[in-house]
C-alpha cells in the first residue's frame, strides 16, 4: 500500500480539474483564468498518464504529448490575445468585456473593484537622517 494506486491519481487529477474549473469561474484576471484552464488540462494529462500506466500501453502517453502541444499553441495565442486586450482596456479584468449582450439588459456592476483599480497613495519621502520623522495623527494602531 505504499505506492499510490490508480484511484489516487484519478482523485488528484479530478482535484486539479475542479480547482481549475473553480478558478476559471471565480478569478477575474484574464491570465489567471487562462492558467486555470491550463490547470484543468494538466489534470486531464495526469488522468491520461495514470491510465496509460495502469493499462500498460502508450496510447495515453502519446495523447498527452499532443495535448501539451495544443496547450502550448493555445498558451501562445492566449498571451498574444491578452496582451492586445490589455493595450485596449489597460486592465486584465474580464468583467470589462461585457458590451456584447442582449440589447436591453443593463451592464452588470462590480460588487468589489479589483485591487489595483484604486490609485495608491504616493510614497512619502524619507526625512534627512537624524531628524525624527514627524508622527502626525495617522498613528493608527491596529
Amino acid at each position: 500500500m505504499n505506492s499510490p494506486d490508480l484511484p489516487h491519481y484519478l482523485a488528484c487529477a479530478a482535484v486539479l480539474f475542479v480547482l481549475g474549473l473553480v478558478g476559471f469561474l471565480a478569478r477575474r484576471n484574464l491570465i489567471l483564468m487562462f492558467l486555470s484552464v491550463e490547470l484543468m488540462v494538466q489534470g486531464v494529462a495526469l488522468n491520461f498518464v495514470a491510465f496509460a500506466r495502469f493499462r500498460g500501453n502508450l496510447d495515453g502517453q502519446s495523447f498527452v504529448l499532443f495535448m501539451l502541444t495544443v496547450a502550448a499553441c493555445e498558451a501562445a495565442l492566449a498571451l498574444a490575445l491578452i496582451l492586445a486586450l490589455y493595450r485596449t482596456q489597460a486592465s486584465l479584468d474580464v468583467s470589462l468585456w461585457q458590451n456584447l449582450r442582449e440589447d436591453d439588459l443593463d451592464a452588470t456592476e462590480d460588487d468589489e473593484p479589483l485591487p489595483g483599480m484604486m490609485p495608491e497613495a504616493p510614497l512619502p519621502s524619507l526625512p534627512v537622517a537624524g531628524i525624527a520623522p514627524a508622527r502626525p495623527e495617522e498613528s493608527n494602531r491596529v
Partner: protein
Amino acid sequence: MPTQEMLDVTGFLGLSLRAGPELGLLALACLTFLGGTFIRGRLLWGLVGVIGLGFAAGFSAIQSGPAFAPTRDFFCFDDVASCVRLIVPILGMLMLPILVAEVDDVRAADIVGCTLCACAGVSLTSMAGDLVLLFLGLEAVSIPTYVMLYLARHDRRGQEATLKYFMLSIFSSALFLFGASYLYGLTGQTRLTSVSSNGLSRGILELLADPSSQRFDMPRTLAIALIFVIAGLGMKITAVPFHFYAPDVYQGTSPGMAGFLSWFPKAAGLIALLRVLGLAHGHGEPFGGMDGTLIWILAVVTMTLGNCLAIWQGNLRRMLAYSGVAQGGYMLASLAVGPATHQHAGGVGPMLFYLAAYGIMSLGAFAIIAYLNDPEMPVEHIDDLAGLGSRAPIASWSLAICLFGMLGLPLTVGFIAKAQVLLATLVSPMAAGSSLIGILGLLIVFNAAVGAWYYLGLVHRMFLRRPLGPQGKCGPKVQLAAGLVCAILTVLLGIVPSWLGWTQIRQGGRVHAIVPAVTMVAKP
C-alpha cells in the same frame, strides 16, 4: 498501440495518400503563411486557397467509392468521411471569397491559411477513428478560428468576441479532454470503435475497481465520461446550455467570420459527436450503451430556445446566431434517431444532408450580409435591411432564398433537409423510446413554425418596407457572387437534391438519391 501491419512502409505511404486532401490542405496552409510574408495580395492568396480547395474536393471525389469500408484504424475512411470530405472543401471554396474580401492585403494570406487549416480540421474530424485524431481535428478547427476572429475584426467589439470565443472554447475543450481521458481509461485504448462498442469487458471493470470494495460503477462512469465529451462538443455545436457565446461572438465579429462560425466549428462538433457516440456505423451499441435520451433533451432544448430567443433579436447577426443554434438543434434531433439498422436508414444520413444544406444556406445569408455591410454604415440592425428589395434586388432575393431555405419552404434544399430529418424521426422509430422520437418530430414542426416568424419578418422588411435612413454602399462583388451561388444552389438542390450526394446503386438495383441517408444502411 499501433499494430504491426500498419507499420510497414507501403501501408504508411498508402495512408498518406488516402489522407492526401487533408495533408495537402495543411501543406498549402503552411505555404500560404510563408508566402504571405513575401507577397501580399488578396486576389493571389484567395485564388490559391480556392484552387487548393478545388483540388482537395476533386481528390476526395475520386477517392470516394465503394472501396471505402468502415475500419477500426486510426483513419476511418467510411461513408461519413467520404461525404464530409466532399462537402467541406466545396463550402470552403464558397467561404474563402467572403472572408478574403473582408480583410486587407496584409492579412489575406493569413486568413486563407487559417481557413485551409480549418477545412482540413473538419475533414480530419470526419475521418477520425481515434480519439487522438479526433482531438487534433477539432483543435485544427479551433485554433485557426481564434486567429481568424482576431484578424477579421480587431476593434473593441471584435476583441471581446475573440476573447469570449477563445476562453469558452478552451474551457469546453478541457471538458472534452476530461471525458476523453476517462473513455481511454475505461477501454484501455484510444480507438473509437472500441470505445463505443464492446470494449467494456468485465475484466477491465474488476481491474479498475479496488478488489476489496466496489468503488466504481462502470456504466455510470462511462455515462459521466460521455457526458463530459458531449458537453465539450456541445459548445461547438452551440447546444443549449453551451450556446451562450454564439450571439455575442457573431455580433462582435465581422459578417463573413460569423458565417464561418456558423458552419465550420458546428460541423466539426456534430461530426465528432457522431463519431464518439458510435453512430457512424450501423453496428455496435449506439450512444455507448446509453439510450439517446440525452441527445433528445439537448435537441429539444436547443431548437426551442434558439427559436424563441431569435424572435427577440434586433441585431441581424445575433438573430442569425440564435437561428444557427436552432438549426443545430434540428441536427441533434436527427442524431437522436440513432444509427442505421437493417430496417431503417437512421438519422445520420439526414443529419449529414442537413449539415450540408445548412452550410449552403447559412454561408449564402452571411455572404449577402457581408456584401451589404459598409464599414462607414454597418448593417447591424434588422431594420437596416428595410427596403433592400428595391435597392439591391439580386442581393435581397439571394438573401430571401437562403432565409426561405433555413425556414424550410418547399423547393429549397432546406425543405428536403427538414423533411428528411422529420421523416427520420417519424418513420424510423428506435427500438427503445420510439414515442419520444415521435414527439421529437412534432416538436420540430412547431419549431419550424416559430422559425417562420423571424425569417419571414426579415423578408418582410426587405421587400415590404421603406428604407428607414440613408443607405450604405455595397461591398465587394465577390461576396455577392458567393451569396448568389449559394442561393442558386439552395434552389437547385431543392429541386434536384440528388446532386448534393452521389448516386449509388445498392441492394436490389434501387437507385438512392439521397446518398448519406442510404449509405448508412447497415452492412452485414
